[in-house]
Symmetry: C2
Subunit: 397 residues, 2 copies
């Protein structure tokens, strides 16, 4: 309910219908009577809502469940196959697309180079073609697609559906939602990529049970998606979560005062993938076997094997990251911090020292969790966006 708008009877109706669906999903299988009990909504109202959900295919009846006495009640469950969505994760290098059902189950995915679809409005025509391809390849009708989720790096206004700035496509204050909706003839939701990934963690990931958590993506850059009170928190100008620029070492502040060095020395520069590799090179790290080309994963792998140079890199990088995460914990006191993005594939060799340092130094100690989808955060995020929008339309429609 919007704070500065008058509440209408439909506000209650939609709130309670949403509550019925969420309670149903949370329980897996549940009877109408138990739904009424748990939601504290009257049984006749719950039954009416359920009839509508069944008609829309959103809910289905199972056989009767167990009863302590008398007739066994009919159980209900959420029907994830009641429709499909398409998720599109737009990256600087690649575009990933996927087809999924309302439970987030992926039926197919594809990846193409971002540069192949051009920039500006041309890129939208390219995306539209890809959407129609996916629909055709899966022998679906367009009417079976309940919506498209678009996850975009950069600052996104999800209300207006505008991308403020996404250099990869030359988009600047670009109304991507409106144009893609018109061209594809489908519902479109658009969101910043890290926010979308955070939402996917809330929907299907390790943060399912948390109402307040911060998702920290560590890959070629570092950014945060903030979920407060179960919703994405975006801040003024939709710019929250830009923690890549955080200052964790004061000597860097002084260098940053020089505008030529603006991005110099911030958390991202020191602890994202390129920074980790730079530090490895500076220390003379070479992985066993080939020495020519190696990735951050090679460093973490070598550290896990006891390589001293690799261990030193990990020690330094986790100092920076621990400082960044402690500062997040202190300000927001989230129930959990979820680490995702490519660097999080390192697993325990990253998590263990990070967790140790945070637990030792910080008086506020959120749970530190590794994402279970380090490679698909963006794609899962875009699907989660589309699913949220599709469910909202079905619930309120």
């Amino acid at each position: 309910m919007l704070k500065n708008e008058a509440a209408q009877p439909t506000t209650i109706r939609n709130h309670n219908r949403r509550l019925v669906l969420e309670t149903l999903e949370k329980n897996g299988r549940i009877s109408r009577a138990d739904l009424a009990k748990q939601t504290r909504i009257s049984e006749p109202t719950v039954s009416g809502v359920i009839e509508d959900f069944i008609r829309k295919g959103l809910v289905r009846e199972l056989g009767p469940g167990e009863a302590t006495s008398g007739r066994r009640p009919v159980l209900l469950e959420f029907n994830p196959a009641s429709g499909y969505v398409i998720g599109i994760d737009i990256g600087g290098t690649n575009i990933k697309m996927g087809l999924a059902d309302l439970g987030g189950k992926l039926y197919c995915q594809k990846r193409i180079a971002s540069k192949t679809i051009g920039g500006g409005e041309t890129a939208i025509a390219g995306l539209t073609d890809l959407i129609f391809q996916i629909i055709a390849e899966n022998h679906l009708e367009k009417t079976e697609i309940l919506g498209v989720g678009l996850s975009v790096p950069g600052i996104v206004d999800p209300v207006q559906g505008r991308v403020s700035f996404a250099p990869a496509f030359g988009w600047q204050n670009f109304p991507v939602q409106q144009i893609l909706m018109r061209q594809a003839g489908l519902e479109v939701a658009v969101e910043n990529d890290v926010n979308a990934a955070a939402w996917a963690e809330k929907q299907w990931g390790v943060a399912r049970d948390f109402q307040d958590f911060v998702f920290v993506s560590i890959g070629t850059g570092i950014g945060a998606g903030i979920i407060l009170d179960g919703e994405i928190y975006r801040g003024h100008g939709y710019a929250a979560g830009e923690i890549g620029y955080s200052i964790v070492d004061l000597q860097w502040l002084k260098r940053q005062i020089d505008p030529e060095n603006l991005s110099f020395g911030c958390l991202e520069r020191l602890a994202a993938a390129p920074g980790i590799q730079n530090r490895g090179r500076a220390l003379g790290f070479t992985p066993k076997g080939s020495a020519d080309s190696w990735s951050t994963e090679d460093i973490f792998y070598a550290a896990a094997e006891g390589d001293l140079l690799a261990l030193q890199v990990v020690e330094e990088v986790t100092d920076y990251l621990a400082a960044g995460l402690i500062n997040i914990a202190l300000l927001l006191s989230p129930a959990a911090i979820v680490i995702g993005g490519g660097v999080s594939r390192a697993g325990a060799v990253l998590l263990e020292p990070l967790n140790r340092k945070i637990q030792t130094v910080s008086p506020i100690k959120p749970l530190l969790l590794m994402s279970a989808m380090p490679d698909d955060a963006g794609l899962n995020g875009s699907i989660a966006l589309a699913v949220r929008q599709a469910k909202r339309k079905l619930v309120e429609g």
Copy 2:
């Protein structure tokens, strides 16, 4: 409206009544017709709500206003004198108390040493005596006091009215609200002191027009009160805002790993009042005139006069503070950051370098504002709490 509870018709009623009062307060003077227009609530509903508010003394009618044509409408205004509240700001050294009306106008205040009222439940008896004294001294009846606001340093659960930990009174998981309500026979609201001060900035201070801002108190300690979407954000375990422990200089992280030095090197240690004085002493600063005893204010005063040692202290301290504030700005993207607490009395000599450093280094640039009530943040906070609770009761009752 609580997210996981069924919405009831009273939810709409209370929401809309609150909206009417807020719109009225925001406008100063307004007619019933304009209230209906602005809130988009029907005129008969608005008139009904207003009749009730007038009966309760919360709103009063003024003479007719101007009209472009026809009969001039009767104007309404919020009546701050419809009741009184008592604010109590509990500090480690002093307890400040004040009597105010619903507009936050202070009628009287007093200050006593915290140690005079003892600890545990004894302290509550002491507070109750003080409350009754204030009522008697102002020739009021107890029924004219609509509530008491209690602002407490430490972690506070405002829902249960419990103080998790307030060492000054030996309170640990102490149900202060319940006990004080019983002993004083008055409504009581309790909140962490920095959160309460942030709320006062929202209610009557420089942050009146912001829905998302962070209040940073710099005094003997450093803490933050976070207002998101117009409400106090408290985080998991009500522990948000503990930014005094923030790490802004990595060398300190390593020292902190030693548990003996747990509070060593964090933002508070480096940039709160005792840290500023320590640094001044270490550099050999002495103010003109008396050299025996001097305060942080002497340093800022000397810096404003061009004293080189004082300027160096200010330069170093504002480096630390700028780093801390930049990290807040990057994570939350608040519309504004408000600086309050004793150290903020320094004014421009603190604000100018802070603002310059933030504007130069941070890609996210919230407005940086100085509190207009650096000395009374705690007391104003406690009054603001009591007023909020009193208004809510009047609106919903």
